[in-house]
Amino acid sequence: MDLLRFATAGSVDDGKSTLIGRLLLDSKAIFEDQLEAVEATSEAKGYDYTDLALLTDGLRSEREQGITIDVAYRYFATPNRKFIIADTPGHVQYTRNMVTGASTADLGLVLVDARQGLTEQSRRHAVILSLLRVPHLVLAVNKMDLVDFDQAVYDRIYAEFTQFATKLNVPDLEVIPISALQGDNVVTRSENMPWYSGPTLMHHLEHVHVASDRDLIDARFPVQYVVRPKSDEFHDYRGYAGQVAGGILKPGDEVVVLPSGMTSKISKIDLFDKEIAEAFPPMSVTVHLEDDVDVSRGDMIARVKNAPTPSQDIDAMVCWMTTAPLQPRQKLAIKHTTRTGRALVKDIQYRLDVNTLHRDQATNELGVNEIGRVTLRTTVPLLCDPYSKNRTTGSFILIDEATGVTVGAGMING
């Protein structure tokens, strides 16, 4: 069984909670006591129907306000795949939560209401998913039952969206007409839309090919922790523990340790108490080198002829996540892979309007939930790749040094 992480975006009005509720119900991930609790609450509130949104709104304040304000994670499985849903709120004031949910997603699911067609909100969701390089995108055209399952409605939204998507980086797109409420094309094929020959949503989620999304060429191994047992049995043991961020590592590979530039060969790779023949993303392993070179946390092991260039000048798209705006000359802590340093904001080149893709170059700051292109100077060189090549070595977070809070998320250009 393998794993698919997907992020959903859309507001309550688009039927997102109903759709998630249906996916969970139909895959038997909802338990009796959860459903009973939701039924009882719905009844107490005087609703005519069971409000499946109550299943997904976890915090008291969310239930009170009837809105989703934070990312919630949901789990279900079919015989072939386990799914982790990052369920994100769709409103513009929660862009940062959507960025958070999309950061680890293999697939993004955007809902639109068939009656309304593409809205500013659905465009924004697609833009954010493409900025975060979520490799697979599904546009679910919901509430087809309310437009008489009319093919013309679907065709119009399809054409409009594919035209918009040409401006984005969307390697794989599927547009599926559904009715979350009645179940059409969610798990079972709709009898009301014989004109649609594509997959149902569940079929697509189960079969979308994610194996080729990772970079298996460029070996990247950020060192997390040095394992030194200092016991009699393992007296000379010195291993570099970490999670493979790219490529395939094998014993015998000639490698370079960055930023020092020292070279060596991989002598062996341990996975717990076994030696293994190769390591690839996202395995957590322990690498040993032939030579006694100086390696510590924050260093990166890469291939001699294929290594990232250490750089202190970083050009990145940054999503700003706190109320006090990001401004030039600001100093922040930065965490990139296992490396931590400080960063100085040199310049804010432009703010991206996530609804229209317009670049506002007149601005000199980024407000909360805004995304823009930023230049940073860091105290330590970052061993980075463009985010478009590697989502692990191309991403970083910014931390306010006074409060300790994560205030920004960055994706390195290049």
Partner: protein, 307 residues
């Protein structure tokens, strides 16, 4: 050199291997970035899976932190026996924070009306403060309960040990932010993304020893609030409650006076997995009196500093 069992021709990891790799990454991040982490150990299957993952993360070195157990005085003896075997096999340091000692030392009030479950909170927070622990691993999973579904892997606690669900730090990619101020600590949930079924699959795959009460056995039980409870002097019978012997097993390990069991003949991991896969009630909803009091019971306890 041994060929790798997990390697597939297309370089994909199974879901269990992906979850294991993610959890090991978290353990190593915490060990590298925090001054004094500790693993909160209840003796239940989730905390045992955490111990196994920690063992793997640092092998062949010993686990570089202590484990902390809150002794409620109401724990199942089978659970304590399993704990002791794990502690001696791994050679790890065990810190026990006892509710009885905390009452004796005047750290928490001796209020007979307050449940032991509630008293775990101040006892735990006191142990964290007294020992200067800066990070505490917990076995919470997001599929357990809807407040947990929103909790971060690194969950910040203020100097009172409180969780502020509306003001959580964003958590992106696998970049965790462990910044703390004096007196604050971080709760770490390395198995956040595991489901109950994943935990059982992993226990089966790894051949992990868990307390015997998880397997079907004969037990003298009675019915209270629709749950099957163990007969024990710690939990006196109320009027009308009748004890009978049944074949049962436990789905969670908590306080013996609050943790119910289910009728089951599942005596192997494979049979338990089969049972879990078709279960129609959550493990907490079915057998935990402490989570039933209100719809937001878990959220409220978490805010105060519960596990």
């Amino acid at each position: 050199m041994q060929p790798m069992s997990q390697t597939h021709s297309d370089y994909r990891l199974s879901q269990l291997d992906q979850l294991e790799a993610e959890s090991i990454h978290i353990f190593r991040e915490v060990a590298a970035e925090f001054e004094k982490p500790v693993l909160m150990f209840s003796g239940g299957k989730d905390s045992i899976v955490m111990l196994r993952l920690a063992e793997k993360a640092f092998y062949p070195a010993k686990i570089p932190f202590s484990i902390l157990q809150v002794d409620t005085g109401l724990d199942f003896p089978e659970v304590m026996e399993t704990r002791d075997r794990w502690v001696s096999r791994l050679g790890v340091n065990l810190v026990v924070a006892s509710i009885d000692d905390a009452i004796k030392n005047g750290i928490i009030p001796d209020a007979a009306k307050i449940s032991r479950n509630r008293l775990q909170i101040p006892t735990l927070l006191n142990a964290i403060e007294e020992n200067g622990f800066t990070a505490a691993f917990g076995g919470g999973r997001r599929d357990e309960e809807k407040a947990r579904a929103k909790e971060r892997v690194y969950s910040h606690r203020d100097e009172f040990g409180q969780w502020d669900p509306k003001n959580q730090r964003p958590e992106l990619w696998n970049l965790y932010n462990g910044r703390l101020h004096e007196g604050e600590h971080m709760r770490i949930f390395p198995i956040s993304n595991w489901t109950e079924l994943d935990v059982w699959d992993y226990i089966g795959r790894e051949g992990i020893e868990i307390p015997s009460i998880y397997y079907a056995h004969q037990r003298r039980v009675f019915v209270r609030d629709g749950m099957l409870m163990s007969e024990t002097p710690l939990n006196p019978l109320r009027e009308g409650e009748v004890v009978e012997e049944r074949t049962v097993r436990f789905r969670t390990c908590g306080d013996i006076t609050l943790t119910g069991c289910v009728e089951s003949t599942a005596s192997t991991i494979a049979e338990i997995i089969e049972e879990v896969a078709v279960a129609r009630k959550t493990e907490r909803g079915a057998t935990r009196g402490d989570d039933r009091f209100s719809e937001a019971a878990m959220e409220d306890r978490k805010k105060e500093g519960y596990f």
